[in-house]
Point group: C2
Chain length 306, copies 2
């Protein structure tokens, strides 16, 4: 089995949507990526940091899904990263109400020795220097490094961000962020500009409008599954990235054609994530449900023009 | 060859985009639909009205593409419908600068006798009573009636609009309009509500984000081709509708599976329309170009998960 190293936050979230609100619940990019990748056959480890206030039962939820949690440091006397946000009625935009970095402020990731030769590395959204530090610890050059990031780092750590972008094979980024990073409005032009910054593959996430995969002139498009109701979009992007990296790690096929499949797998898993608050749906996801919806994805775009 | 009756404006447009501006040029929904449908093997007629100021050479442009123009009434001493608009930098929104109805104010469409038994009827965006009047003139029940409309008629002629919606097989409408018409934010729920209003097939156009086709529980999604540059979006929706109706008329196959192909054909033709100002690109479109881009559409969404 191929190994997948995931770095990302393991955290508390409090979420408000037009459908309701939650207290502090399990969240964080590392959590969503890990839970999503756990739907594939691989050997994964999450590298993160939490405070002493973080319940062991949350760690156990990951362990029970065969995710190695050795790399999740527990800081004595520390408090766990906390994010709180409120979604607008259209569910496409949100306000951040609270961001408490807490133990994340001094996070120095430590990749467990047994995972320093992992085939695939998924760098979840974090300070670019933290992402770099994970790559520095790899003793064998990974077959594929996937980077997720966001506009926040473009605003406050652009040079560090450019440095890590240069070192990765795949970048996943949303449409507005791709425009900001490249200075191009057209996503086709934006992808070209981002290719020049390093990544061989550029994945542009468009939320409910699907995702685009670029490898130079080649383009692939995956729709989001049209849903009756989006209950809570939190974690959808991370779940997408986790499905993408997880499927690649399972198959060990790093070709453009297999990236297409990985994009579909990521979109498929993300379509579940938004059906309930937080991680709830991902924690109660059956393989049959994943398979059934995957066939819906095929029907959604398949056509046969003679 | 199947017959296709198209009703829609044949008009003057003046367009301003971030790339430049035009004087009065050939425009109108009927024009775009006709030019797009002309890419297929069928016997089409455009039903419309123009003033005495309308150049014969514009009529000839349609005739030269085997479009019957008998149903385009020329009003002596009348002035042609004129629309002028300016696109914002994102090309997704626009301001209407001028709307002069002129001869359109009293338009009473007359379907040429030879086309009153047409298999397919495409009702371009117009007052719902005008669209109804075309259907009233059909001596044989058409195999398929396609309706295009817009928010303007929801605001000022909702009951008339509902009456014509009840009589059609397919409605094409954009996402915001679908939400307005149905009162539902989710497009899946909106489509369900619109099904109940009459149409067996609901097509929701999302511009650069593609189009969705619904037949009750069945959903098909067609992406828009990602383009380096959108030069002028005017007429893209009509070109989409014309390609859709034209392909259906050519094939004479009214099944859901063939509607999928028709959606792709419409999306393909619309991708050309936006590359130049007004009708310019559609007037200089070669069959080889259409075929080549169609294969790009296949590559764009095809994947093979084992």
């Amino acid at each position: 089995m191929n190994k997948l190293v995931i770095v990302g936050t393991v955290a508390f979230d409090a979420i408000e949507t037009p459908f309701g609100k939650t207290d502090k619940i399990l969240g964080g990019a590392g959590t969503y990526i890990g839970l999503s990748a756990a739907n594939f056959k691989l050997d994964s480890a999450v590298v993160s940091v939490v405070g002493e206030d973080f319940p062991q039962e949350y760690i156990d939820l990951l362990k029970n899904r065969n995710i190695n949690t050795e790399g999740i440091e527990v800081v004595k006397g520390g408090k766990t990263f906390f994010w709180s946000g409120k979604y607008h009625n259209d569910m496409n935009s949100r306000d951040t109400l609270v961001t408490e970095l807490n133990v994340l402020a001094d996070f120095q990731p430590k990749v467990p020795v047994a995972y320093q030769d992992a085939e695939v590395v998924m760098l979840g959204n974090l300070h670019p220097m933290v992402q770099s530090s994970v790559l520095d610890q790899m003793t064998t050059k990974p077959k594929l490094v996937v980077l997720d990031t966001m506009n926040f780092w473009m605003d406050c750590a652009l040079e560090d961000l450019k440095a890590i972008i240069k070192r990765v094979d795949v970048i996943t980024i949303n449409d507005e962020e791709a425009r900001q990073l490249s200075g191009e409005y057209s996503l086709v032009k934006a992808a070209k500009a981002i290719h020049k910054m390093g990544p061989k593959y550029v994945v542009i996430k468009k939320g409910e409008h699907g995702a685009l995969l670029f490898e130079n002139e080649k383009i692939f498009f995956a729709p989001a599954l049209p849903l009756e109701e989006v209950f809570d979009p939190t974690g959808a992007g991370d779940t997408f990235a986790g499905g993408f990296a997880g499927y690649i790690a399972q198959t060990g096929d790093y070709s453009f054609n297999n990236m297409k499949n990985a994009i579909i797998q990521g979109s498929n898993l993300a379509s579940f994530c938004v059906e309930k608050f937080g991680t709830e749906r991902m924690l109660n996801l059956k393989p049959e449900e994943v398979a059934t919806r995957l066939s819906q994805f095929k029907e959604l775009t398949a056509f046969e023009i003679n």
